[in-house]
């Protein structure tokens, strides 16, 4: 049982890293603009379908398709931000929720129209398949790769936020948008760039998610709930919060499925409601 406990921990952590990639962009943009973007997972789904099309239909290698998944999600998000989102800054939570749920509905229907309602397969290169034995434990190569990618991205994100001029502008805008504007920071531009980066990361997450959780037309809905849980529990605008919340959620979900399969997803919903009742602003939330 001890060996499998380590296995569950490892798989859960890998799953948590996936959730982190999917949700970190939403956490930062929500913290900055207070814009409730429920369509975040539609960008992730877009990234996933770009990778599926490139690898299966056009014969691209899997790794080469990942940057394109990132780029396409980022570009589409910029377009949507310009056309739709921008009109609703400062509108009520409810209006933002509804607009973005509308986008989710449309994206789900379009995905079903183009790709059908079946699970999409992805061809992994041989060096990402199988498992390796480390210290007597058999670990999936792809999960190790996923954890590696996520940790590198987290490190880059944290470093960029802490040590670059742009990062300082983002932090200022999250802390106090009006003050940041008063100091001459172009918050709208900062937001647009952050939004594109966050959506791009979601697209990358969507591409990486295919092997672990599968990809079908309903992805934008299924994972929306997980992403919202990560954001709400971690606290808005906090990368560290998202990281901790995603790890917790991934591990507890995996452990729940493994040890109490009859409870289903009951456990994670219960953990979320309990955590929110204890700290309504999330674990790391400040306002």
């Amino acid at each position: 049982m001890i060996a499998s406990a380590f296995g569950v921990l490892f798989d859960g952590f890998a799953y948590g890293m996936l959730l982190f990639l999917l949700s970190v962009g939403l956490s930062v943009t929500l913290g900055m603009m207070n814009f409730v973007n429920l369509a975040h997972c539609s960008f992730a789904m877009l990234g996933g379908f770009v990778t599926v099309t490139l690898t299966n239909d056009l014969g691209w290698p899997f790794l080469a398709s990942l940057p394109l998944a990132f780029l396409s999600a980022a570009l589409v998000s910029i377009a949507l931000e310009r056309v739709l989102y921008r009109r609703l800054y400062g509108a009520s939570d409810l209006a933002q929720c509804l607009l973005t749920i509308g986008i989710v509905f449309v994206s789900v229907a379009v995905a079903a129209y183009i790709y059908g309602t079946i699970q999409q397969p992805v061809n992994l290169p041989s060096y990402l398949r199988g498992s390796v034995a480390i210290m007597g434990q058999s670990l999936g190569v792809y999960r190790l790769f996923l954890i590696g990618v996520s940790i590198v991205i987290t490190a880059v994100l944290v470093a960029a936020l802490e040590f670059t001029r742009f990062g300082a502008q983002v932090r200022a805008a999250v802390d106090n948008q009006r003050m940041a504007r008063g100091l001459g920071i172009d918050v709208d531009r900062v937001f647009a760039v952050t939004f594109a980066l966050g959506s791009g990361l979601a697209g990358l997450g969507g591409a990486l998610a295919i092997e672990i959780v599968g990809l079908d037309h309903a992805f934008a809905f299924t994972y929306l709930i997980y992403v919202l849980i990560v954001v709400a529990v971690g606290g808005l605008g906090s990368i560290a919060g998202s990281f901790v919340a995603a790890s917790l959620l991934g591990i507890s979900d995996m452990a729940g499925k493994y040890y109490f399969p009859e409870l289903g997803a009951f456990l994670i919903y219960f953990v979320m409601v309990a955590l929110l009742m204890w700290r309504p602003l999330g674990l790391f939330g400040r306002r």
């Binding site: 939570d93 509308g102 997803a265 979320m272």
Partner: protein, 329 residues
């Protein structure tokens, strides 16, 4: 002694309470399906049930400003209560419905203590979480609810011992419409009372209301429980008229649908949910004949259009149009 006269604000409130001719026309029009569309009475009863559900959401969202993504919890709870009672051998509709109302009300009262403590994103997430919790619980308790197969073996007795629930839906529509009308009268009375005014105050400024001496949390608990009862009744009606209960009654999709319906019609107006339910259900009935996948495309587009161009829903748009016409004339 001078005769008692109404002040200006009182007269304004009086005018809002008075029944308008268009309201009478609306309720008379709900009788039309009996004459002109006897083949669509089943759909009509579904519309009446959905309208009741949307009306219950309107009470908390449109008037008290509580955004809920988990309102289906009370609908489904009422549905399972009414279904299980009938399955266990007591198929009398009205007492079954009363039981559904009580069960949903107890659940609503219990959760209202949580709801009244939170606002904004935390509130949305908690309502979502509670709804998902209940759906998962019903899914796990397959021995009670039938799990993913749905609750089978619901048999209803005749209404008042005389009217059979038939395939044509004549009894179902009469029954649902009557309950909807009674609930609507209750909601209308409630909204036009001082309590209803206090609710609108909470929606507009939740901080100032306690400052002028109105106990906001107590008001929120009260209206949330009432809305839960109404949602439970709607769920009970669905169980009784279709004689089956599925997990879908508790699902997130139903919570989202009812939100869409209410926004489409216009939140914060008593008729918003009713008009929204008619448009939504009739359109879905027409479109789903083609392909259910496309339905989501159109409802999504519609939702985006309503948020961008009709912030107060169809009814809000109509009111604005009427004002334009009147000022032009």
């Amino acid at each position: 002694m001078t005769p008692f006269t109404l002040s200006e604000p009182q007269r304004h409130l009086e005018a809002q309470i008075r029944w308008q001719p268009v309201e009478l026309a609306f309720w008379l029009a709900t009788l039309l399906p009996f004459v002109f569309a006897p083949n669509y009475l089943v759909l009509a009863s579904q519309i009446a049930i959905t309208a009741l559900f949307a009306l219950s959401l309107d009470l908390i969202l449109g008037y008290a400003g509580i955004v809920s993504l988990g309102h289906a919890a009370y609908f489904g709870f009422g549905s399972y209560t009414a279904g299980l009672i009938a399955k266990w051998g007591w198929g009398e509709p009205l007492t079954g419905l009363a039981a559904a109302a009580v069960a949903a009300g107890v659940l609503g009262y219990a959760t209202s203590f949580i709801i009244a403590r939170f606002r904004h994103l935390a509130l949305i997430m908690i309502t979502l979480g509670l709804g998902l919790l209940l759906a998962e619980a019903a899914n796990s308790a397959g021995w009670l609810t039938g799990g993913a197969d749905g609750l089978q073996g619901v048999r209803m007795w005749k209404l008042f011992g005389a009217f059979q629930f038939d395939l044509y839906g004549t009894t179902a529509y009469t029954y649902s419409l009557t309950i909807l009308f009674l609930a609507f009268l209750l909601a209308r009375r409630l909204i036009n009372s001082p309590f209803g005014l206090a609710l609108r105050g909470i929606r507009e400024n939740a901080v100032r209301m306690p400052a002028i001496g109105a106990p906001s949390p107590a008001h929120i608990r009260k209206i949330y429980t009432i809305a839960a009862v109404m949602a439970g009744v709607a769920g009970g009606l669905l169980a009784q008229t279709t004689e089956t209960v599925s997990l879908e009654t508790l699902g997130f999709a139903r919570s989202a649908d009812v939100l869409v319906i209410l926004i489409l019609g216009g939140a914060g107006r008593l008729y918003g949910g009713l008009v929204g339910a008619i448009i939504y259900m009739v359109a879905r009935d027409q479109f789903s004949g083609i392909n259910p996948q496309y339905w989501y495309f159109w409802i999504g587009t519609l939702l985006i259009a309503v948020v961008l161009f009709l912030p107060n829903g169809v009814l809000g748009g109509l009111t604005r149009l009427m004002r334009l016409v009147r000022s032009a004339a």
